[in-house]
């Protein structure tokens, strides 16, 4: 524990563990931070989209004559401008830059126009005539595999895939994992419960809508700015979709108005690049809120059949999970979400016999893809409710039941992966004590009958972080200050600050002596993206290693300058090097850098590249088919207690209090870490209670903030407590793990368990709207 003075000292220095204010505060709090919509270029054109009015139709042809004739129109692009062999996709290459040959969902981009003004561009889109042959649409994923179901993709089996996805017919991908012998284990269980759960499509709803701006230079090379979570994924997607060489496309980033998975893969970038290349001019296009709802992506609706068995003493024995994800029209991140959700289906419990399997169905709906939690909120909603049902049948307290089965030090994950640090039990203890769980639940149960009923629920989860390739470059500038370059896009969560803190700490510099470069595919080392809760852990490790390289070079040159061995030198706070045990008399980083530039060695540059290499599955333990992640990462954990108040006259649910404890490893910046947990809680409350994309036939019925309600200041909890459990991970940078997603995994489950505690009936379909809760209350009363 730091003393207050110690903490204050560390804050001023900006060291690891200090709540350094976000480095972009000056720009953001003065309204000067530039987001994509704030970018203007002299003489730029404005883009607009034509979206499909049909869920499924063949495109017989286009008549562009009227649109082209409109004064001010500079370029129009359609599927005719695309080569059929060019398709993009994170896992399965199945998606054209814009609809080609067919439209596969209402709202899909059919054509795009660049014109002198946005009004002209929009008017021109309305003058484009498309000859459609309307086809029967597949809207229900449960019917996707019926013999007579319409085919979303005629030649799905021919698509290239980056793993064994099993793509064919309307199966976008399939995955199966098993350990032990679940089929044989049911007989040895004393209690078995089985149920089917349904979850809905949730919109990411970054307050900033997506957009892009593309510039073409005289040689035809494109510079593309966009709302994104990875300049490198933007580059890969656009190049795949347009058959463009990566050397011909440079991707950069303005500030990002938040990303929750929606800005990781492509949205309008390919269409905007097509327009810019055709018009040979700069083109900017920013989606309206409605277009953003309809054409970007959303969280997967899921149907989850789950079966769990336990012994009389409360020991979990077996689990079967069958998962059906609605993937929408294109693969996008769906195969990843399916595989990850199945890998996480048991939650952080020891269950010896498990069979988890599922499919992603292609349907004629918008893409469903990555969204904070990446499939875990869906399976946790099912799993944690099922645990409460089991606890009830076994007459055990829900927390005691969980404590009996959770993973502890030395336990491995489903599939066999080692867990290097595990603070889960501490998390559970913390929320149990802080919420006064037993006393409060007993008091709620004994409360006199009233219209308002209180209930409390618990849920726990884990998250794995560490996916894919990362690099960092640390340069010592001539004056001894430092430039850090990682290619990681700060999407608002504060990764620039956290990475700068780690770099500063490694070199014993105050954080204001480190600048961080803006991600740029021309100049930054590759970084897969700001997604999967990975930046602090993966990029942090690269930063520490690259800074270590710089330290080595500084010491080598300082040794030459001071005529002593490098091993006898130490870094000193504030940017100098001196002899160990001899105070004073050192040389500053500026002197060393000057020596390097003018006398010996050349500029000091440290770099690091790496990719997480611990295998997800031990083939001796588990049988796996179609898991797209051979290596994932390290484990964070969480436990959460949520209190609800249910209005039994209306069914409306309110959340007065919530307690969340997360084992995130060492917190590099505690205020930012609790900010992630608090933000995830409220986003999870929206998922649990109000947020649901609704379709009217093939068309989205509520693509507006009027009709799609996210939590406001009114709905936020009266009390929300976020606790950090810092179990140092031996592999993490300064012991850090991850915090971006873990906070949302449990929310819907804990709220559902709390509502069940209040009204006595489990609810198996999200969101828990007033209507659904009231129906459950009325059904219970009828049976009494």
């Amino acid at each position: 524990m730091n003393t207050p003075n110690d903490t204050m000292d560390r804050e001023t220095k900006g060291a690891v563990g200090a709540s350094v204010p976000q480095l972009e505060g000056g720009e953001k709090l003065n309204g000067r931070a530039q987001y994509i919509a704030d970018m203007y270029r002299h003489g730029m054109l404005h883009g607009a989209l034509l979206q499909s009015p049909h869920a499924h139709a063949r495109i017989r042809g286009y008549d562009l004559s009227e649109a082209k004739a409109l004064p001010g129109v500079r370029a129009i692009v359609t599927g005719d401008d695309l080569d059929a062999q060019h398709r993009m996709g994170a896992f399965i290459k199945d998606e054209p830059a814009l609809a080609k040959g067919k439209v596969r969902y209402c709202g899909e981009i059919v054509a795009a126009v660049a014109a002198d003004t946005e009004a002209i561009a929009r008017q021109a889109t309305r003058l484009i005539q498309v000859d459609y042959e309307v086809l029967p649409a597949l809207l229900d994923p449960a019917q996707a595999f019926d013999a007579n179901a319409p085919l979303v993709h005629e030649e799905a089996q021919a698509y290239a895939s980056v793993f064994d996805s099993g793509t064919q017919g309307n199966i976008c991908s399939r995955t199966s994992l098993s350990e032990g012998d679940a089929a044989a284990a049911w007989d040895s269980c004393d209690v078995v419960v089985e149920h089917t759960y349904r979850t809905q499509a949730q919109a990411h709803l970054s307050i900033e809508p997506c957009g892009a701006l593309a510039e073409v230079d005289a040689a035809g090379r494109v510079t593309l700015w966009s709302a994104n979570q990875s300049v490198f994924r933007v580059q890969a997607n656009v190049c795949e979709a347009l058959g463009l060489s990566m050397a011909k496309l440079r991707c950069q980033t303005p500030h990002i108005g938040a990303g929750f998975g929606n800005k990781m893969e492509a949205h309008v970038q390919p269409a905007v690049v097509m327009l810019a290349l055709k018009a040979r001019k700069t083109v900017k296009l920013v989606l309206s809120r409605e277009e953003d709802f309809e054409t970007v992506r959303a969280r997967h609706p899921a149907i989850i059949r789950m079966k769990t068995g336990a012994k009389k003493d409360g020991t979990l024995v077996a689990r079967e999970t069958e998962l059906l994800l609605d993937g929408g029209a294109y693969g996008d991140d769906s195969p990843g979400v399916l595989g990850y959700a199945l890998l996480m289906n048991c939650g952080p419990y020891n269950i010896p016999h498990v069979h988890a399997h599922g499919r992603v169905a292609y349907t004629n709906k918008m893409r469903f893809g990555a969204f904070r939690g990446f499939g875990v909120p869906q399976v946790t909603f099912a799993s944690e409710q099922q645990l409460d049902v089991l606890a009830d049948k076994l007459s055990m307290d829900p927390i005691a039941f969980r404590r009996k089965n959770i993973k502890r030090d030395g336990d491995t994950w489903f599939g066999g992966q080692a867990i290097h640090s595990n603070g889960l039990e501490k998390c559970l203890d913390l929320v149990e004590n802080a919420s006064d769980w037993k006393t409060a639940r007993a008091a709620h149960a004994k409360a006199p009958a009233s219209e308002m009923r209180l209930g409390m629920g618990v849920a726990v989860s884990a998250h794995i972080s560490g996916l894919l390739a990362t690099g960092a470059i640390v340069r010592l500038l001539e004056d001894g200050t430092v430039l850090l370059n990682t290619g990681a896009v700060d999407i608002g969560q504060g990764s620039n600050t956290v990475l700068s803190q780690m770099c500063a700490e490694s070199l014993k510099l105050p954080v204001d002596r480190v600048a961080i470069a803006s991600p740029d595919t021309d100049g930054s080392p590759y970084n897969w993206g700001t997604t999967a809760s990975r930046i602090t852990y993966t990029t942090g490790r690269s930063v520490v290693a690259a800074a270590g390289e710089v330290e080595k070079q500084i010491k080598k040159l300082a040794g030459a300058m001071m005529e002593c061995a490098a091993e006898d030198l130490e870094l000193r706070a504030g940017g100098s090097v001196g002899i160990k045990g001899v105070p004073g008399g050192g040389v500053s980083f500026g002197q060393v850098s000057g020596y390097a530039h003018w006398a010996a060695g050349g500029p000091i540059i440290g770099s690091n590249s790496w990719v997480f290499d611990q295998k997800t599955v031990d083939p001796k333990r588990a049988v796996v088919l179609g898991l797209p992640f051979a290596q994932i990462g390290i484990f964070s954990f969480s436990a959460q207690v949520i209190e609800v108040e249910v209005d039994t006259l209306t069914g409306k649910v309110r959340v007065p209090r919530a307690w969340t404890a997360c084992d995130i490893g060492r917190a590099i910046n505690p205020t930012m870490a609790t900010g992630q947990i608090e933000g995830a809680l409220v986003q999870g409350m929206g998922y649990a209670l109000t947020e649901e994309l609704v379709w009217d036939g093939g068309r989205l019925a509520n693509p507006s903030l009027m009709d799609y309600k996210i939590p406001t200041f009114i709905e936020m909890p009266d009390e929300q407590h976020a606790y950090l459990v810092e179990s140092d991970d031996p592999t993490g940078p300064f012991g850090a793990k991850s915090v971006g997603e873990i906070g949302i995994n449990t929310v819907a489950a804990a709220i559902a368990n709390a509502v069940t505690n209040a009204i006595g009936t489990p609810l198996s379909q999200l969101p828990l709207t007033g209507e659904r809760v009231l129906a459950a209350i009325l059904a219970t009363e009828k049976t009494l």
Binding site: N30, A119, I207, A258, G675, E678, G679, V682, L705, F713
Partner: protein, 164 residues
Amino acid sequence: MMSANRQITLMVNGSASEAPAALHDTLLTVLRDQLQLTAAKRGCNQGVCGACTVVVDDRTVRACLSLAQNCEHASISTLEGLIEQVPMQALQRAFAKNGAFQCGFCTPGMLISAYALLKHNPEPDTSAVRKALSGNLCRCTGYTKIVTAVQEAAAALRAEVVTP
């Protein structure tokens, strides 16, 4: 639709600015596209998210719902014009210290609503803050740190008044 484009004069942040505006152009469009004042953001263009909140004649309004031509002769303040004000600086300091913003896209609107609140209520309790800011959506923070920051700024301003 293309009709009635005329030059209008807006009093923005204390000075008169001329800009062309069509009848249907909103204040937000003219502020952003003509005057390059981009602190006010377009989040929904429907008056729901509050990211475009500005002050017009001492009242907070949604710039996306206000027609520019109707704002002639009114006094308009955007965040760019309020950053020298003591209460705004107190809010900015408290937002920075408490982590009351993340992506920052809702922040200009949030700061303006908070500024308007503190102007008429120097000591808002939690529910007053929540009510006053309930028209400003944030998807990142979960709101808790914003409430803390606004109350902390209010306390700092009261202390300044008592001990100048």
